[in-house]
């Protein structure tokens, strides 16, 4: 079914199509419509899920954990300060190996108060063990929720589906709602092998000493790595069933490119027409959009970027005192390559500053013009 919808509602629809059984969420601008539509769907019976009203995001994730531990397919959504408040429980969800799926609307952190987009909120959670998908269209948001469950439930790890506040959350565009039958075939009912079970009682997560904790972390890492292949496989399968294929990254005009732009989310979308323009002017420019940031697709990036003349990375986030996260990690992934290209790291669009096509062009053109990068951070358009 074709529909025009906003990014927030695409998350809700993704949860509905995935037949989420429990939703525990607390509203926060600009995520509010996600929860609003889900509670409507629960109220009118179109989604047969338990909607748990909670008093904070910390409780939202705690309730989600309880539901997921009982074996229910569980969904929640949040943003920014709300995600930060969840921080402790995010670690818990990973350690408890609960395949929860959560939408996070990227919104800059306060102070000062802000509601506009920036990735620092979710980047700050990159070490919690949550898998992270950064989306770049309304359609991809909906599809990613479905794919997220498919991966999460195979590796017993939680997944965050991330979207830019307003630029995606409040933008309405064409979206194809897949048939429920087909989604059911792609994503069958989930039987959690470790669920709470009164016939097989167990105590979960009790005190574990240095004798085995290390191994538990090893197992998380191995399953996280395994999800890299699963993203490619389940993304292909998604393409076969629904006509839209997804992978760890998306490339555009990359084959013969000597200068490659690495970006994510909505900036990577606007980058496509920017690259079209530069191509018309004779520049061999290509794009790698990083879709899955955790696990980081290092191996694939080495394959795609080693041997290029120049690489620039645009980050809508900043790790103060270091650089943008996508830049730091892309650079780290390439470090041992003999043919590692020089890499420029641009910071753009913090706090929702618009990143129009001409600014993306500026960054690419500056990279082409410069011999070698100076430092790890290039600021673009800072006011005097």
């Amino acid at each position: 079914m074709q529909k025009v919808m906003m990014g927030n509602h695409a998350l809700s629809w993704g949860a509905k199509l995935s037949r989420a059984e429990v939703i525990a969420a607390y509203p926060i601008t600009p995520q509010t419509e996600v929860v609003e539509l889900l509670s409507n769907m629960c109220a009118d019976g179109s989604l047969k899920a338990e909607f748990i009203k909670v008093e904070s995001e910390h409780s939202a994730m705690a309730a989600s954990m309880g539901a997921a531990a009982a074996g229910a397919r569980t969904f929640t959504a949040t943003s920014s300060q709300g995600l930060a408040l969840m921080h402790e429980v995010l670690h818990w969800a990973t350690g408890a190996r609960l395949p929860i799926v959560m939408g996070n609307i990227n919104r800059a952190m306060a102070p000062p108060w802000t509601i506009w987009t920036e990735q620092t909120d979710s980047i700050a959670q990159r070490d919690t063990g949550w898998i992270q998908i950064y989306t770049s269209s309304i359609q991809e948001i909906m599809d990613s929720v479905i794919q997220a469950y498919k991966v999460a439930e195979q590796v017993y790890l939680p997944v965050m589906v991330v979207l830019d506040s307003f630029v995606l959350s409040h933008t309405n565009e064409n979206c194809d709602i897949p048939d429920q039958d087909k989604v059911d075939a792609y994503l069958p009912r989930f039987e959690n092998a470790y669920r709470l079970n009164t016939d097989k009682p167990a105590a979960f997560g009790g005190l574990t000493g240095p004798d085995w904790y290390y191994e538990l972390r090893y197992k998380i890492e191995k399953d996280t790595e395994r999800s890299l292949d699963l993203f490619e496989e389940t993304g292909k399968e998604f393409g076969e069933m629904f006509g839209r294929e997804y992978g760890l990254v998306e490339t555009y005009k990359l084959d013969d490119a000597d200068t490659v732009l690495v970006a994510s989310a909505s900036i990577a979308s606007t980058a496509r027409p920017a690259i079209d323009q530069l191509r018309e002017e004779g520049h061999k420019v290509g794009l790698v959009r990083i879709r899955v940031f955790r696990p980081f697709p290092s191996e694939l990036l080495r394959k795609l970027l080693a041997g290029r003349k120049k690489v620039l990375v645009i980050d809508r986030n900043i790790s103060f005192g270091m650089s943008g996260a996508f830049y730091a990690e892309t650079k780290a992934a390439l470090y041992n390559e003999k043919k590692a290209p020089p890499m420029w790291g641009y910071i753009a669009g913090l706090g929702g500053r618009d990143v129009p096509l001409n600014v993306i062009r500026d960054m690419i053109e500056q990279t082409i013009a410069e011999e070698h990068p100076e430092g790890d951070i290039v600021w673009i358009g800072v006011k005097r």
């Binding site: 074709q2 025009v4 600009p30 509601i115 506009w116 506040s165 307003f166 630029v167 995606l168 409040h170 933008t171 309405n172 565009e173 064409n174 909505s266 900036i267 979308s269 606007t270 496509r272 027409p273 929702g352 618009d354 990143v355 129009p356 096509l357």
Partner: protein, 187 residues
């Protein structure tokens, strides 16, 4: 690609007007993208919304800086802000006003059309007489004047998007469509 900017005030239905256009165009099988100027919405404060229309998937996700056309839902904004900022020469400016287009000489170089959407909205009891909701009426007129979208699709979109008084909104759109005058000097 067509890029259209909407100017209004909080409470008039500016954002919904941009969505009506997007929903209508999508019904005709084209690609759309619509979004408000993201901010904290307050009644009476100037509101801006944007709609992009194309035959192909739309990738650009920045604001619209150089719109092809404008819709002005509240004539009191003219002069208060520079509504034509970035507007491409020859673009349409469709204004909700009871005055004729020739009363807007400051817009030389653009194609100006007016529609008394306020009266139509009041007649169909949309919003209150003091604060009428004019989006349905102005979108009916937009369909007629520009021909960018059919009135059938606009009617359907208005019906889908009106939270209350669906029929009255559809009638307002139709009345504006039927009565709007297409300026003669239109190329």
């Amino acid at each position: 690609m067509l890029e259209i900017r909407f100017h209004g005030r909080g409470g008039q239905g500016t954002v919904v007007a941009s969505k009506v256009l997007a929903f209508a165009v999508a019904r005709e099988g084209r690609f759309v993208q619509t979004f408000p100027e993201y901010g904290v919405e307050r009644r009476g404060a100037p509101v801006v919304a944007f709609t992009r229309i194309d035959d192909q998937k739309i990738y650009i996700r920045s604001k619209i800086y150089e719109p092809d056309h404008l819709l002005v839902l509240d004539p009191t904004l003219i002069g208060a802000i520079d509504v034509t900022e970035g507007l491409k020469p020859g673009g349409w400016i469709i204004i909700n006003s009871d005055k004729p287009a020739k009363d807007f000489p400051q817009f030389a170089g653009f194609k100006v059309a007016t529609v008394d959407a306020t009266s139509i909205a009041v007649k169909h009891r949309l919003g209150s007489a003091a604060a009428p909701i004019v989006n349905s009426a102005i979108m009916g007129a937009f369909a007629k004047i520009t021909g960018f979208v059919g009135i059938e699709a606009v009617r359907e979109a208005v019906h889908e998007l009106s939270p209350v008084k669906k029929d009255e909104n559809v009638e307002a759109a139709q009345e504006a469509y039927d009565t709007a005058e297409v300026p003669k000097e239109q190329s």
